[in-house]
Symmetry: C2
Subunit: 200 residues, 2 copies
Amino acid sequence: MNAGEQRVRKPRADVQRNRAALLETAQRHFLRNGVGTSLDAVAREAGLGPGTLYRHFPTREALLAAVLQSLQTCSEELVARQAEIDQLSDADEVLEQWLRAMEEYFSTFSGLSDPLMAAAQAQAPDDPLRIPCDIFISATDKYVKAAQSAGHVRTSIRGYDLFLAACSIAWIKSNGANEQSLDRLRTLLASGYRERDEKA
Amino acid sequence: MNAGEQRVRKPRADVQRNRAALLETAQRHFLRNGVGTSLDAVAREAGLGPGTLYRHFPTREALLAAVLQSLQTCSEELVARQAEIDQLSDADEVLEQWLRAMEEYFSTFSGLSDPLMAAAQAQAPDDPLRIPCDIFISATDKYVKAAQSAGHVRTSIRGYDLFLAACSIAWIKSNGANEQSLDRLRTLLASGYRERDEKA
DNA sequence: ACCTGAACACCGTTCAAGT
DNA sequence: ACCTGAACACCGTTCAAGT
């Protein structure tokens, strides 16, 4: 065995168990109370000390990122949705559906848009939420480029812009907007990014 | 004097002094630390007990609303800006400038967009921030209607929608977006609300 | 190596005691 | 009538003591 090689030791059984309990409890609390939920209460209900939570997940963002990754329901739903979307023939429709799928994912927990938006623009490259953000941004970029080469989206638009827009819509929604307002905003947005016919 | 008449007694001198000290200190703390700043620290630095702050301003929103109202600089600047804007001949330009003016006002304190957005959509009609929100919304409505009758803005748009949009931009900005992203989003938005020529 | 939970320094809020 | 500040119930975070 090479001396420089990383040793990936299998974690102790209780460590694995604790981590799973924390994730499971945190997920429930995030779903019920939003991203601002008490971490003390999470540790307590998981039957662990606050210190244990803190070492497993040094920041709220780290816990949030881990919970998001472990959330099978949402990830699978998103992947399934993405598969459906990729089947669509109309590149315009594809983009619209993808924006809705993102918006719904960002509404998984109330208040999730805030740390996501912060992570998307963070100076610190080690924000744990950067990973999901970057995935969403590059996926959006793919769809935007496809729609652009089909002539449906203005060339000045980037995937990043529409990621920010979808995040904003989710933010407005989590602040209690009604569906009519949201729909008008979505329409507003769509008319903004769609290619318009130049005046002759 | 009628028995049912409201007696508006002049407040005691120390009460007036305390209120002024709280507002002045709170303003400084909001400016420096954003809307989430410690209210305890505000009371302490104003030389008062936390209970005094709490009776003058029962919630953070109440304090925030009072500080906004007392912020001469910003209000005056906004009024002056509005006067300038009203002089413009182009109704399209007017609306665009107004949206920028709102956006800047919403950036007075970091994080101000959050309570404003909440207040704009609150069920509770007694949220103290509803007053500034309603002022902004109806002003936006006025500008939108003017632009619409000049044929510059789609008729499906309401002032409320563009208020939400300006609030979102300020929110994105307060999360550290760079100016290029913001500009692309503003352009995106403007192409969305502008009247487009129907295909022949 | 990992967990534990007491301890610390903070919050916002209340309320009995003062003036 | 208004102010005061101790008291309360919460935070998140750290770290010495355990296993």
